[in-house]
């Protein structure tokens, strides 16, 4: 198919939908814009990222349609079969500067080329940051621009085991050209950002009684004429105790934040626990309607996590470069990707078991979760067949099936996301790659 000549009608025809469906689509998009008010159903988006490609023959269902099978990697998602949409034959067609990992990561949500620049990858030409905004930020900005979909943060970006360095391998969200968004890789920092220094206040309160006792003790040991300042100080301690006890904004919340266990450091072996903490914080922030968009980034493109909890001692990226015939590596990679699917299942379960506040159904019914990757496959660095696993009914897509996207650029999928929230962009990222408009997923 010549991408340039394809038009919407042709695409629909090829997808098995007649033009009759068009009016319905446009009607439904107006439902989300003009008439929507605060009590209207919410729409949320979560983008979950895991790196280094997948193992295609253990991942992609062979069947297109509703009866698709769950191979090893997607097995953990079987309970959610009816709410899944597996997008096949969707490719990252952004070319230009930067190696495949860099473009895989930084063009994934932006759909646009990277600036020529000074960061040298494993091949091709050196590059800088992408030339445009990412879809998660675009959608968040759109939702924030309208009073009835505006939230405190708009979007929250969570990281799990993300390194302390800023480059096209570690960033996937962008506010615009040259504007990377740093994910919050520390759940304690994320907690502080979202809930204020509640945990800090708790820590302080836990020592105030002892402090009061000590102040009293010291004051009593001084001559009376010298106690004045300490008495003032004691009054301040009392005041702080009262203030910090009266709780905080937390008492007004729909759902109190999760209790974070102390001292989980940002270390490789803590990735599973850190991931769960971030997921808990993410869901909680959605329940309290602090944001409508979130990203969950596991390590980075070329991430070298060692999944010791899966009995994998090798580093992830290194493994992903082993040839197909290395059975041991192959098995390990399948285990690794299956584990990511399990983490996704944990997220989906949490959403599904939380009733949607003020509406029928669960939060999962009002959220779209996308699990994606920067590469189609690790050892050949391909940007074709990028894994896109969608879950949840939030965007009005037709779920419970696997679908072929007929080898179009993934920009068109990004457009679908924008349209689904009532933001009918004509192009997203590279305009040429947007030709044909949004994929019809509904």
């Amino acid at each position: 198919m010549n991408l340039n000549s394809i038009n919407r009608r042709t695409a629909l025809k090829n997808l098995g939908l007649s033009s009759l469906s068009l009016p319905i689509l446009s009607q439904s998009s107006s439902l989300f814009s003009a008439n929507a008010d605060k009590t209207a159903p919410k729409q949320r988006l979560i983008v979950m990222f895991s790196p280094n490609g997948t193992i295609p023959n253990h991942f992609w269902p062979n069947t297109i349609g509703e009866d698709f099978e769950h191979k090893t990697i997607l097995k953990p998602l079987e309970p959610f079969h009816d709410q899944l949409l597996i997008l096949r034959n969707l490719h990252n067609k952004v070319r230009g500067d930067g190696d495949n990992h860099m473009r895989g990561m930084s063009c994934l949500l932006t759909g646009i080329e990277l600036f020529p620049g000074n960061v040298m990858g494993g091949g091709n030409t050196p590059s800088g940051w992408p030339k445009g905004i990412s879809i998660d930020r675009e959608i968040s900005n759109h939702l924030q621009s309208q009073p009835h979909t505006r939230t405190r943060f708009g979007a929250l970006h969570f990281g799990v085991g993300v390194q302390d360095t800023a480059d096209p391998w570690t960033r996937m969200s962008y506010n615009g050209p040259n504007q990377p968004v740093t994910p919050l890789s520390d759940p304690y920092d994320a907690y502080r950002k979202i809930y204020g220094n509640v945990r800090d206040k708790k820590k302080v309160r836990s020592i105030l009684d002892d402090l009061k006792a000590d102040l009293q003790k010291v004051a009593n040991r001084l001559p009376e004429s010298d106690r004045k300042l300490l008495i003032e100080h004691s009054k301040l301690v009392q005041r702080m105790d009262r203030e910090y006890e009266a709780g905080s904004s937390l008492s007004n919340l729909s759902a109190p934040p999760p209790e974070l266990p102390e001292g989980i450091r940002n270390l490789n072996e803590n990735i599973p626990q850190l991931g769960r903490l971030q997921i808990d914080l993410l869901v909680n922030s959605f329940v309290n309607d602090f944001a409508r968009v979130a990203t969950l980034q596991y390590t980075k493109s070329v991430g070298q996590a060692k999944m010791k909890w899966l009995d994998v001692e090798d580093a992830h990226h290194t493994l992903s470069h082993e040839p197909d015939k290395n059975k041991d590596a192959h098995d390990k990679l399948v285990r690794i990707n299956t584990w990511f699917a399990e983490e996704l299942a944990y997220l989906l379960k949490k959403l599904e078991s939380t009733p949607e506040p003020g509406q029928k159904g669960s939060m999962l019914d009002h959220t779209l979760v996308i699990w994606t990757n920067e590469l189609g496959k690790g050892n050949n660095h391909t940007l074709d067949h990028i894994p896109f696993v969608l879950a949840g009914n939030g965007f009005g897509f037709r779920m419970g099936r696997s679908m072929s996207c007929e080898n179009v650029p993934h920009n068109r999928f990004l457009l679908s996301l924008a349209h689904a929230v009532g933001h009918p962009l004509k192009t997203f990222g590279n305009p040429k790659l947007s030709a044909g408009g949004p994929l019809i997923l509904g």
Partner: protein, 762 residues
């Protein structure tokens, strides 16, 4: 100007004959005072709120007092009290309380005071330094060490080409490579070393480049201070803000690379607390990279300065909260690094023991004394148990310790104990000399009971004098004494003084503080050489502006000494930075200069003016000199009560223009720089210009006494009367007669104050 008016009462008395003095109808000064003066000045001269609220004290000679009372008091009807009655009242006041400020001191003993902001920051930093190592620069090689690499592919450090020391980071490579033989398209440079700023405060660091860079200031792990490794080859400048304590070194690392970018350049600048941005001068950069320090970054509300110096005599909610956040941050810092601080590993089976040990030491250092069994249990042992992870215990301990009154109120120990012991002396020495806590040397000495006789204590104090923290605290005092803390960089009318650029102003400031630092700490000058400033630090820019021969030698700082005479300087107060700071944008200001010199150099008392009168050039004949204008403006008796002094000193400095350049004429008019000066003893003197002023300053005991008192207040942050051991008059005589250097003075005051009620063991 013959001050006939001061002598008239005396003259009149003589004319009327001795018999009229001492007669029964000599007015009763005390009675008259109570009748006419007490309602505003208080029965005992203590002052009355909403009237004249300050005590009636000062340094005028009695003749001036009589004159003033006669002419201007009481202020609601100046004609009410005149002649003999004015004299009687004045003599009563003069004899009873006017010269005795100690009568009005509400506090004359050491008060319980919390740590001032500077003391808090220094103490916390030094507390962590006990475990992280105190960064020290022992080899003073200036500049940053740069390693130059050729890059290839993903390897930025493919091959090192060269290593060298770069005095500053300001390079424009254009399209070329730093070295001819290097690849001009792909290269990296890694600079490392330390930065040692002079002043404490908020700093901003900037890197400007179209290429990739990452900067680390006092941060060797975790996220860089600025991370701009990725670029599309467009020029940009990024900044980062950080609080730094002056006089301490911090590690600095700058990673830089060009990879196919069209051009290459890099500049490393900073903006210091005085607010001006410049390329970081070599003077502050050193090739040795020290380990990092913990410096509290929390903003703290300003200390009480109502007594003329910073004191921790008040606590309020904003302070309590700020300290709490600072403590939380320190607790988190400690919790994240327990293995490093306790020198242990996760799998060390001595780990808990080691962690408990450092916790004990931490609390001991913070509380400045060994803990009793009970206190050790309360503060340390009870915080550890099998259910609590070690780092949580450490967090609680740090939080509890830094919020504890035993840390925050350093004098509590002394006030609690009936007799001062070694710990009290050690605490005070560290607090007064460094604004910090006693270090482990001192604790060790106390442990082996080597901190009780005068010799031992003195040798500790001498060691402490050599420590950079003493110099840093003295530098802080200089900023305060010279009134530079809140002052902006002087700036002048750009049309008339186009060469007086911010860069020159910064150079002048550096010249001043560099000069003082060298004089006091390297040359160990006495009071005479300190005030007369025989040598001034100058550089190219200063030579250019002030018409001096260019410096012939060079050194890494760009500054070399010059005989002050060659620049027409006559004393510290004629340093161009000081003169320029006390001037208007277009004209000199004898009033500002007079106030500064009278108060700070001569140690005279000057109250703020009763009425604020603004000075406007436009009100006067444009042909008049500044002296003529100011004389006319300050003629009324009310003004003259202070302006006789201000004008007498300020006019002597009219030989320097607004930027501190020397001049002998104003247009065609030769300048008249002679003045009549009435000293604190009532002696009338002629001052012949700036030279006469300097001689006066060197001769006057009041001058040196004021300096010593101010220094003592700054060191101890307590009322100076609290220290009965310190004889200020004697010290000032020693200083004036050149028997004591300024460094010795620092040591002496600290020693005397710290051992004030301590009984030496001989």
């Amino acid at each position: 100007m013959f001050l006939w008016k001061y002598y008239r009462p005396l003259f009149l008395a003589l004319t009327f004959g001795a018999s009229s003095m001492g007669m029964a109808n000599t007015p009763d000064g005390k009675k008259l005072y109570t009748q006419h003066c007490a309602e505003c000045h208080g029965k005992k001269g203590e002052g009355v709120e909403d009237e004249y609220s300050k005590p009636l004290i000062g340094d005028w000679p009695v003749t001036k007092l009589i004159h003033y009372v006669d002419r201007t008091m009481p202020d609601y009807d100046p004609d009410l009290v005149k002649g003999k009655e004015a004299e009687a009242i004045s003599r009563f006041v003069f004899k009873t309380f006017y010269q005795k400020p100690e009568l009005f001191q509400k506090d004359s003993k050491i008060q319980l005071a919390r740590l001032t902001n500077r003391q808090f920051r220094q103490s916390v930093s030094d507390l962590f330094a006990q475990f992280m190592g105190t960064p020290k620069i022992d080899e003073y090689k200036a500049g940053l060490r740069g390693k130059y690499y050729n890059a290839e592919g993903m390897n930025k450090k493919k091959k090192m080409h060269s290593e060298r020391v770069d005095p500053k980071i300001a390079f424009d490579f254009g399209k070329k490579a730093p070295y001819q033989q290097m690849n001009p398209k792909k290269f990296s440079i890694y600079w490392e070393g330390s930065i040692l700023p002079r002043e404490s405060g908020w700093y901003e660091f900037f890197v400007k480049s179209p290429n990739g860079f990452a900067l680390r200031i006092n941060k060797l792990d975790g996220r860089p201070s600025i991370d701009e490794k990725v670029t599309a080859g467009v020029m940009r400048e990024s900044g980062t803000k950080i609080f730094l304590l002056g006089g301490r070194p911090y590690p600095l690392r700058l990673d830089y690379h060009k990879f196919d970018d069209p051009n290459a350049s890099i500049e490393l600048s900073w903006r210091t607390p005085v607010g001006q941005k410049e390329i970081i001068p070599t003077e502050f950069l050193f090739t040795k990279m020290v380990n990092q320090s913990y410096i509290p970054q929390q903003k703290l509300p300003p200390d009480d300065s109502s007594h003329g110096y910073q004191r921790g005599i008040q606590v309020d909610q904003s302070w309590d909260e700020a300290i709490t956040y600072a403590a939380l941050d320190a607790a988190q810092f400690a919790a994240e690094r327990i293995n490093q601080l306790a020198r242990t590993k996760d799998d060390d089976h001595q780990r808990k023991k080691k962690v408990m040990e450092i916790a004990t030491q931490f609390v001991r250092y913070a509380f400045r004394q060994k803990l009793s069994e009970e206190d050790a249990n309360f503060f340390i042992k009870s915080r550890f148990n099998d259910q609590t992870p070690l780092h949580v215990s450490i967090e609680k301990i740090v939080l509890m310790t830094l919020k504890s009154p035993r840390f925050l109120y350093p004098e509590w120990q002394a006030l609690e104990k009936k007799k001062a012991d070694s710990y009290v002396v050690a605490t005070r020495l560290a607090l007064y000399m460094w604004d910090s806590i006693p270090d482990n040397h001192m604790h060790k000495q106390i442990d082996v009971d080597h901190f009780r006789n005068k010799g031992h204590i003195e040798s500790q104090a001498k060691r402490m004098l050599q420590d950079p923290r003493s110099k840093a605290k003295f530098n802080d005092f200089m900023l305060h004494w010279l009134e530079m803390k809140t002052k902006e960089l002087p700036s002048k009318n750009t049309k008339r003084y186009s060469n007086f650029t911010p860069a020159l102003a910064l150079d002048l400031r550096r010249s001043l503080f560099r000069g003082i630092e060298k004089a006091i700490w390297e040359q160990n000058v006495d009071w005479h050489n300190f005030i007369s400033m025989p040598s001034i630090q100058f550089n190219d820019r200063m030579a250019n502006y002030y018409g001096l021969p260019f410096p012939t030698e060079t050194n890494t700082s760009g500054f070399i000494p010059l005989k002050s005479q060659k620049m027409g300087r006559v004393g510290l107060h004629t340093h161009p930075y000081i003169l320029a700071s006390h001037s208007y944008a277009e004209e000199s200001s004898p009033i500002h200069r007079g106030v500064f010199v009278s108060r700070k150099i001569l140690g005279r008392t000057l109250r703020p003016p009763k009425e604020a009168v603004s000075f406007s050039n436009a009100d006067y004949d444009p042909n008049w000199t500044m002296r003529q204008k100011v004389t006319a403006l300050t003629k009324p008796a009310n003004c003259m009560s202070c302006h006789d002094l201000i004008n007498a000193t300020g006019f002597t400095l009219e030989g320097f223009d607004t930027t501190g350049r020397t001049r002998t004429n104003l247009g065609t008019k030769p300048l008249n720089l002679a003045t009549e000066y009435l000293d604190e003893n009532g002696n009338q003197r002629k001052l012949d210009g700036a030279k006469g002023l300097l001689q006066e300053a060197l001769k006057s005991t009041r001058s040196s006494k004021y300096f010593i008192e101010e220094l003592c207040k700054h060191l101890a942050k307590q009322p100076i009367q609290s220290y009965s051991d310190i004889n200020f008059l004697e010290l000032s005589k020693m200083l004036s007669s050149r028997k004591l250097t300024i460094k010795d003075l620092y040591l002496k005051i600290a020693m005397q104050a710290a051992t004030d009620d301590f009984v030496f063991n001989n």
